[in-house]
């Protein structure tokens, strides 16, 4: 059993808040070393997952409920019962704001070159117009990556999410080779702020703290889904690109407008398609075609298959 010391409490807090996108200055962590008892009236500045700085009374801080590593790994492998997560990406709305990328890198403690979600500049044919395409793990129902994993460190959950256990990953990168969507990134170096998160309990549903020599990728923000929240990229988008929801309920919610619509109607009415569906991977991410775009493409299209 972990002792409920102040240090551990703050570490746990750091992890849970870190998962939500930490950390006012490092106020919390620097206070770890100080021996100040939290007297009433002591204030602390925290950064919320929404990006706002808030000042709260230290006495108000409660230890977050963090399951132990084993418990976390166990429930992380099972997934959320009865759910079947799907995402719909409306390409006609994407203006390359890249807020999704930023929020995601923050959420998952990624180095700047690591993208769980990457907004690509696409052009399907010479005569067609270019467009922006956010691309992340497609959470395939026939995932090529989990098939090849030698140690079951990446796996498919009941609710459709493909997850990673970086406490088990041996870093063979077979999954990287197998993924046709280039969705996986590797911790080639010591992860960002590694010393800051040292000793923090691993959260499998957020894949933080990242570990050197292991794999990472989009997880549909499984930790947020457990808390009944939408994934980070979905809420971060200012342009209403993302719809996310439960296929079993046939409902998807737009992360920008908060509007909830019928999933099946949305994909039918808009002739949604899946990325490289011909490979038989059966993705859980649906794309609405980039037609009637409101803003012109402003990037310079890089060589497609460079």
């Amino acid at each position: 059993m972990e002792k409920k010391t102040r240090r551990n409490f703050l570490k746990t807090l750091g992890a849970s808040m870190g998962a939500a996108g930490v950390i006012g200055g490092s106020t919390i962590l620097s206070s770890c070393s100080s021996k100040v008892e939290a007297a009433a009236g002591d204030k602390i500045t925290l950064l919320t997952s929404g990006g706002e700085l808030v000042v709260v009374d230290k006495a108000m801080l409660k230890p977050a409920e963090m399951p132990s590593l084993t418990e976390n790994q166990k429930r992380g492998r099972e997934g959320l019962p009865g759910k079947s997560w799907v995402m719909v990406i409306d390409l006609s709305k994407c203006r390359n704001a890249r807020e999704c990328m930023k929020a995601c890198q923050h959420h998952h403690q990624l180095r700047p070159e690591m993208h769980h979600i990457n907004v690509l500049q696409m052009q399907d044919a010479e005569d067609t117009s270019p467009y922006y395409m956010p691309k992340q793990c497609q959470h395939c129902d026939n995932p090529p990556c989990t098939k090849v994993c030698p140690v079951n460190a990446t796996f498919k959950r009941e609710d459709g999410i493909v997850l990673i256990d970086n406490e088990r990953c041996i870093g063979c990168r077979f999954c990287v080779a197998a993924c046709p969507y280039s969705a996986r990134v590797f911790n080639w170096f010591e992860p960002k702020d590694a010393e800051k998160y040292e000793g923090v309990t691993y959260n499998i549903e957020c894949n933080v703290p990242q570990k050197k020599g292991t794999i990472s990728k989009c997880l549909f923000s499984a930790d947020k889904l457990r808390d009944d929240e939408l994934p980070t990229c979905v809420t971060a988008c200012p342009n209403g690109v993302y719809w996310f929801g439960d296929k079993n309920e046939d409902a998807v919610t737009n992360g920008t407008t908060g509007e909830t619509v019928s999933f099946s109607k949305l994909v039918k009415d808009n002739a949604a398609y899946k990325l490289m569906d011909e490979l038989g991977t059966e993705p859980r991410v649906f794309y609405l075609p980039p037609k009637d775009r409101t803003t012109p493409f402003q990037g310079n299209i890089e060589e497609h298959h460079s």
């Binding site: 090529p144 140690v151 063979c172 280039s182």
Partner: protein, 454 residues
């Protein structure tokens, strides 16, 4: 074979054979020390490089998220390929009653053992978390081709060691009986222990023959599996250039080419260094040259299939990949490998003139270098061209170039393989003495005799 009737003649010939074939064990001069020094130095540097890699992460290599397998994996495939020659020469040719290949068996097994052992080490070098190696056994998922690879590589290593050891037992007894002052005590003691009290009666030989035959048959499916499964590490993915159904036989055929070349080079080295001109004869090099032509043609056939068929269609992603290796940044490497490393050697070796020991060896060196680069071409260009564009990443993510650490560790693997081979040659005869002597017509009964001390 002609039986030599006269005991005197038999004994004399046997003495000569033993004397010649133990030269590698007895010989110890400046060159030996220098060779060991070079090998150990490179190995030390490589291990140091690996230490840096473990400390700083795999990022010290040129690999990044797109080209996530690099020189290590190419090198791994190369070593697995080279190891396959053990099965070709000491099993297949034996079972086909090809008699000329018999003196080469042990050389082939040396190569096989060294190469497959190093393949196992290289793959650990490539891991992001080598400290979690045991997870493969604790959490092993048998649906992953990596598990198949681990299983067959270990089985192959075991069978290869046995195929090396079993015919060695009577030799060890000969060494135990005949050698003495010229060797250090520990060596003699080792021979005595390893020879398992071999007496050399008919029953014992029967057991050896029987066990050898079982192993030779067993190693065929295992040998075919190790390289087929290795090819599936690529073929099991959807990527252009790897997504091919002929990868298994294509790899196996290529492996024979690399392995035969490696054995020829080693034969020549032994012939030169240990004065074994009468043992690794011109005929052996000529025959190995012919064998190289045969497996080379087989490999060429698979190459035509592998590149011509998709090249004819130029399907989207496949086309981009093929253009890159036919005319793009890998064109020089690709065409040199295909022409200098395969087509030209086949043509040259068709002529008797080029099947002399030195020229076969020189051609084999070119073939072996070509075989290494061929693996590079199989692994890397495919990864540089994923289905989706490579964007929003630093420049070094786009193209792969091995770093000095990778080169150090790759050199380590070569030197470590050579060290294993050298140690085997320094401890045990490089040709099976008793088999060779029997082939020359000496009766088995003379093997167990103690020579008269003069």
């Amino acid at each position: 074979m002609n039986k030599i009737e006269s005991p005197e003649e038999s004994r004399k010939l046997l003495d000569k054979i033993v004397f010649d074939l133990t030269r590698s064990i007895v010989k110890k001069d400046e060159l030996t020390r220098f060779w060991f020094f070079i090998l150990i130095m490179f190995i030390g540097v490589g291990l140091w490089g690996w230490g840096i890699q473990i400390k700083n992460g795999l990022g010290v290599t040129g690999m990044r998220d797109y080209v996530s397998w690099g020189m290590y994996i190419a090198n791994f495939v190369f070593f697995v390929a080279v190891s396959l020659v053990g099965f070709l020469i000491s099993s297949t040719l034996h079972l086909l009653n090809v008699s000329w290949s018999k003196p080469i068996s042990r050389v082939a097994e040396q190569v096989a053992i060294a190469a497959v052992a190093l393949a196992g080490i290289i793959i650990v070098n490539d891991m992001g978390r080598p400290d979690r190696l045991l997870n493969v056994f604790i959490h092993g998922r048998f649906a992953s081709p990596i598990l198949w690879d681990v299983s067959v590589v270990m089985t192959y290593l075991t069978i290869s060691v046995l195929l090396f050891y079993l015919p060695l037992i009577p030799d060890l007894a000969i060494l135990r009986n005949r050698m003495g002052d010229e060797l250090p005590k520990w060596k003699m003691k080792m021979y005595s222990i390893l020879s398992l009290g071999w007496k050399g009666d008919a029953k014992q030989y029967k057991i050896i023959y029987h066990a050898m035959r079982v192993l030779m048959i067993l190693i065929i499916p295992v040998g075919l599996s190790i390289h087929t499964v290795t090819s599936w590490l690529f073929a099991a993915t959807l990527r252009a250039g790897w997504d091919s159904t002929i990868m298994g036989p294509y790899f196996v055929a290529g492996a024979f080419v690399a392995g035969v070349a490696a054995v020829v080079i080693l034969m020549y080295a032994y012939r030169l260094r240990y004065g074994l001109k009468d043992y690794f004869e011109d005929i052996h090099f000529s025959q190995m040259g012919k064998l190289l032509v045969f497996v080379g043609l087989l490999y060429l056939y698979f190459n035509v299939n592998e590149f011509l068929v998709p090249g004819y269609k130029m399907r989207a992603a496949e086309g981009v990949h093929l253009l890159n290796i036919f005319t793009g940044s890998y064109a020089a490497m690709f065409w040199s490998v295909q022409i200098l490393g395969l087509i030209l050697p086949i043509i040259l070796l068709l002529f008797k003139f080029f099947r002399k020991p030195l020229s076969v060896t020189l051609i084999s060196i070119v073939v072996l270098i070509g075989a290494w680069f061929k693996r590079f071409i199989i692994v890397i260009p495919t990864l540089e061209h994923p289905f989706l564009p490579v964007q929003n990443v630093p420049a070094d993510f786009h193209h792969y170039a091995p770093t000095s650490i990778e080169i150090m560790i790759t050199l380590f693997s070569f030197m470590a393989a050579l060290l294993i081979i050298t140690i085997l040659a320094k401890l045990f005869p490089v040709i099976t003495i008793w088999e060779y002597a029997e082939e020359k017509g000496i009766d088995k009964k003379y093997f167990s005799e103690q020579p008269k001390k003069s």
